[in-house]
Amino acid sequence: MISLWVVFWSNGAFALERAALTLSGSGCRLSHQNIIETLERLEGVTRVEAETIPDHLLVDHDGLRRTEEELAAFVNGLSFSQGRCRAAVMRSCITAGAGPGGARPVPGR
């Protein structure tokens, strides 16, 4: 694993966030590299890790420009994947923290 992180120290305005995106669909294999390279060019994205967890992208970003949902939506809007590789935010029982706000409803509910 590459140990290279652009870190803004705790006394700075923000710290890096990591978005975990699940990829699924018949077009993922073909568009995988394009998705990574396009994400890496996004302002605020410092690193995209595609090898750590199969079928997942780990996107390190500054958290100021996009939420993780917006990063997933960005991937889903890429024209070259033609809707055949869908990204979703990975949420599970090991999602870190939770915050005092409790569970988040499905968007739109």
Partner: protein
């Protein structure tokens, strides 16, 4: 630092019809550790903590010997330190008064013990207040391998995991007594082996491998309910002794100051988070994701200790202290 030298010992096993002799080579190990009061990285963001450590790392180095071996131990408390420190090995059966006393900065203490019982054991500083010395990082694991290596199945891969609580203010001893922890760590890091968290890594295995986890709960206060998500422990060995064998265990409680050895065989590729099912602890740091993949590479017994986070300096990196 560990050095091993010499051997002695002869074990004769006598049967009714045959006489079989087995030579067991009991070794003597010189184990030296230094109490180091230093800042260490405890989060993937690079956040540092004013720790007290053995040899500058949290947990301290893994000591590994074979049942019957002798350990000649020396603790050095350098004159540059501010506080007294001590060492208590749970693998030892020796007088507490002579051996586990705290030594002041600029002093050393030495003692010798025989690791008579196989297992995985806690070691920790016992200087007062012990709750603070443990909370700040003075703990580790000693593995005493069974003299008979066939006492349990051979492991394909081994890891040491030490659970401990994190208190943001290392000087607030009252919060330690009140159990007001801010996080829970495996091997001295919050979400150190959680790849979905910034800076987090993982533990590796290949499908079908028997993965052996030597698990120590340093505390200082909380119990661990150790559970493999998506799997079942094939075997759990209380205190890591092959004689204390349980089979088919979903969750096993390890109290503060205790330890156990866990075997899991991951059948298929994927991710298997190892957690304490005490969720206030898991969701605040005590999650280690075991990723099973056919191309898994070998890893250290305690990966990412110390946790090295490289911080490239750029024109927008704020200067420390600002």
């Amino acid at each position: 630092m560990f050095t091993t030298h010499s051997f002695c010992g002869l074990v004769l096993a006598t049967g009714l019809a045959t006489i079989t002799s087995t030579v067991a080579f009991a070794k003597t190990h010189d184990v030296s550790m230094t109490a180091v009061e230093t800042d260490i990285v405890i989060e993937g963001s690079g956040e540092k903590y004013a720790a007290w450590t053995f040899d500058g790392q949290m947990p301290g180095p893994v000591v590994r010997v074979v049942e019957g071996d002798t350990i000649q131990f020396t603790l050095t408390n350098p004159a540059t330190n501010k506080y007294p420190h001590a060492m208590d090995f749970h693998a030892a059966e020796i007088d507490f008064l002579k051996n586990y006393r705290a030594v002041n900065a600029g002093e050393t203490i030495s003692y010798t013990f025989v690791a008579k019982k196989a297992g995985v054991f806690f070691y920790h500083c016992g200087a007062p207040p012990m709750i603070q010395h443990v909370a700040r990082g003075m703990f580790g694991a000693i593995i005493v391998d069974p003299k008979n290596s066939k006492a349990w199945p051979k492991a394909d891969r081994e890891y040491v995991l030490v659970q401990s609580e994190y208190f943001k203010n290392p000087d607030d001893v009252q919060s330690m007594f009140d159990r007001k922890f801010d996080g829970v760590m495996f091997n001295g890091g919050i979400f150190k082996y959680h790849p979905f968290v910034t800076g987090g890594g993982k533990l590796d295995a290949k499908p079908g491998e028997r993965v052996r986890i030597y698990f120590v709960n340093a505390g200082p206060n909380e119990f661990s309910a150790f559970h493999p998500i998506g799997e079942i422990w094939d075997n759990v060995y209380e205190s890591g002794n092959p004689a204390n064998k349980l089979t088919g265990v979903q969750t096993y409680v390890v109290g503060p100051g205790s330890a156990a050895t866990f075997d899991v065989v991951v059948e298929s590729a994927g991710a298997y988070p190892l957690v304490t099912h005490s969720l206030t602890a898991a969701l605040r740091g005590a999650i280690a994701v075991l990723v099973a993949s056919p191309d898994a590479k070998p890893q250290a017994l305690m990966p990412m200790v110390p946790w090295k986070v490289t911080v490239p300096q750029t024109e927008i990196t704020p200067a420390p202290g600002h």
